[in-house]
Amino acid sequence: MSAEAQTPAQPLELREVRGPSATGGGSRRFFELLWLISATEFKKSFHGTAFGYIWSLVRPLMLFAVLLVVFTRIIRFGGGVPNYPVMLLFNLVVFGLFQEGTGAGVGSVLAQESIVRKTQFPRLVIPLSSVMVALFTVALNLIAVFAFILIYGVNPMWTWLLLPVILFLVFVLTCAASLLLSALNVRFRDIAIIWTVIAQVLLYASPIIYPFEIILPSFLRDVLLANPFTLIFEQARVWIIDPTAPSALDIAGSWAAMLPAAAIYVLTCVLGVWVFKREAPKIAERL
């Protein structure tokens, strides 16, 4: 070991130490760490139990089963929606990316306290790896979902190839929200608790368990239209489940009407990155 250290004198250049940051330590290290940590965490989520993968499916499946019974047998509006069970399952799994990603992301920096306080570690890796784990889980779950879609009798469409676009949009928003939440949670420890409530509200404020067109023109409709998830999930429905369903453009009415949702989407991303970057150098001190 010392033999390696005794390399011939290389030109030594003093470089300024800039202190901790969101991405400090070079991009190669950043991505390697992100990958390694996400992959090991993902593996870990299965390792403990023999039925590891099954367990990750149980949560969305249970919710799916309950909602399916409620909306097709008790409240009976699902019956009128083409391929309702398929839509419900698909939406729940994709929304799971956001729910599980932010749910793990919000407390991630706090949970990795010792790494943040005792090592030189690019802070950004921590919330992002939580989202990556959620992404891996959802990707795996989607295999089961598509099997279900085929069994249910939906014919494969070329627009299925656009699935990555949907996932990408949800993924980016999840990352942004996780950055924002995890940074704020260091300052205000009750953010994590508040967030579980808000995430629950978002589930019902997005067209996940109902199609958007059943909402009659009203103030509520305008509010829901400003939710980025509304446009994303409606477009996903057209591409994956039911090509005859109204597209995002159809429900908005015009490109201009899509602006609020787009603005909120972009704003969340900018805010998340900005807050995290601003907080990153101070995180170790606040923990």
């Binding site: 070991m1 250290a5 030594l12 300024e16 330590g25 290290r29 005792k118 300052r187 420890r189």
Partner: protein, 419 residues
Amino acid sequence: MAVDTTQDGPATPRGREFDAEPVVIEASGVSKSFRLPVNKISSLKEQITTFSRPDYRELHALRDVSFEIRRGEFFGIVGRNGSGKSTLLKVLASIYAADAGRVRMAGRLAPFIELGVGFNPELTARENVELNGVMMGLERRQARSRLGAVLEFAELEEFVDMKLKNYSSGMLVRLAFSVMIQSDAEILLIDEVLAVGDAAFQQKCADVFHEMRDSERTVILVTHDMGAVEHYCHRAMLLHDGEVRGMGDPGEVARKYLRLNFESAPSSGEDSLGEVADIVVEDAWLEDGAGQRVTNVEKGEELHFCAELEAKRDVEGPTFGFTFANPDGVEVMGFGVPLDDLPERIAAGQRIQIRSRVENRLAPGRYVVRCWIHRNRNISDIVLYSPHILDFVVFGKNEAGVAFFETEVEFELKGGEGR
């Protein structure tokens, strides 16, 4: 006979000259303070419901600290708890951002604030070594190729695919230490991790530190252990209240540290800065088997060592350690009061008496008893270090060695002149 323990540490050859070496770390005017809220607001609810502006107390952890370290130096940073040395380490390691001043560095730095940080108990040693290597700035391929060397040093080859949660704490510490020394960063920042593992492994670690001292690698060691400072460091720096109070020869710095911390008169009544010893040794003596005080003991006869201490302030979780040093300054033996027998706390004004019966294996000669008292069950949290609470003589026929053991020796003689 009083032995000045700081004078005769192990002789350290300091033959190396560093003036010609390039500077690899340069800190100039580094300051760092923390704003500690008197009532910490840590939830949104409190933020909203607290109307008055929170009061802050400014804590200056570092004030205008400047130094240079040249390549290949083994540099010690010493200071008592709260002196700012850990903060300095974290600023150097890019864990904290400095408020003012500038740090410049050449080459890659690997910080070891605590052994085994970032180890994941759910992963195997193989996976953890790779992960830790990448955290220390290696490429994945490099980190993997290092696995063999890491495990060999830690003597854990057979456990490569065992999850860390099933490791014993000793194994864990060995793995962490060898990950540390196998990281090939040019600069190592090490905080108090010298004494790990069993005796054999400790010797191995000591060898590594010796090797590091003579290599091109730059090491910064933060420690309370003045022995280690004098032993390994080429140069040392003393921090006190966030300021540099001494810099240069390790022996000199170690003496300054001891003077600053332990020689403040216990009776001065100055109560503000924690400079007064929280516990004082009121008395220490030897007894014979009949309970009579004696000043010397015969070789091989049991030692009855007693001490009476008085707490000047409440001390939580105290631990007591005593060592017996011969005139060469070598600590021949030592013992601590077993954890099970220790009180949870000693209240101010309370007196406690420690009586021990020690098997006497000391070689004849004069011995000095040193006393350590720590608090919070933490051996780096020193309340009192007294280098000389008692001296006594062991008399008897002299033999070779500093202590004697009944050891079975089998002889076999070969060769020599035939009869």
